[in-house]
Point group: C2
Chain length 105, copies 2
DNA sequence: TTAACTACTTACTAAAAAGTAAGAATTATT
DNA sequence: AATAATTCTTACTTTTTAGTAAGTAGTTAA
């Protein structure tokens, strides 16, 4: 079996979940949305996340190139997170998830 | 704060993830799709899941009323799992996840 | 009488994910 | 000289999730 066939073993759902699965990633992507969000702002928007998880997940999302970061070299520091073009591709997923959430009860 | 406002605290994304989040649920729902699936069939379709997890997650999905089960009282036993009407409401989510999976790399 | 079939169950262990709490960095302000 | 501001980091613990491996049930076929 060739290396570039290995990707095809796994179903697309499994593949996507490796990237946007887990407790926090979709929520973070959702809160960033079309905006530029500061770290502290995201913390407020997702009150139940710990700082550790927020920064850890942001880091991972940046590795996947779904999120980008701009640091202003000020004291106290200021950073802005936003979605990359690739990151914006989750919008339709989020849209459907929100619809699903409203349809269940 | 009134009790029926409590639901509104959490964002819809978080709410949906409680139901369809985790490593296996969307994959199971995806493999059932429009079909009637036997336990052993699902096991084959999702080769990396353990029997324990498969049955545990099926049980949970049934509690959420996304999946229903029909047992034929035969020996050896035969059961069929299928999506309820409510369960079929995840299709648009799955659809977008599959699109997302194909767009990333 | 033994094995095979299918859908589970259970006890136990291991791994992954998440939480907590403290602290570092750096400059302005009091 | 102490405090506040903001974005992180680190060590440690707890909780949650998942995996393993063995076993159960009840017929049928070898």
């Amino acid at each position: 079996m060739k290396k570039n066939e290995i990707n095809k073993i796994e179903c697309p759902v499994g593949k996507a979940l490796k990237i946007i699965g887990g407790k926090w990633r979709l929520r973070i992507l959702n809160e960033i949305g079309e905006e530029k969000r500061r770290f502290g702002e995201l913390k407020r928007l997702i009150p139940d996340i710990s700082e550790k998880m927020l920064i850890q997940e942001l880091k991972t999302l940046m590795e996947y190139n779904l999120v980008s970061k701009k640091s202003y070299h000020q004291i106290p520091p200021k950073v802005e997170y936003s979605l990359t073009e690739k990151g914006k591709k989750v919008f339709p997923v989020l849209e459907q998830i929100v619809i699903f959430a409203n349809v269940i009860d």
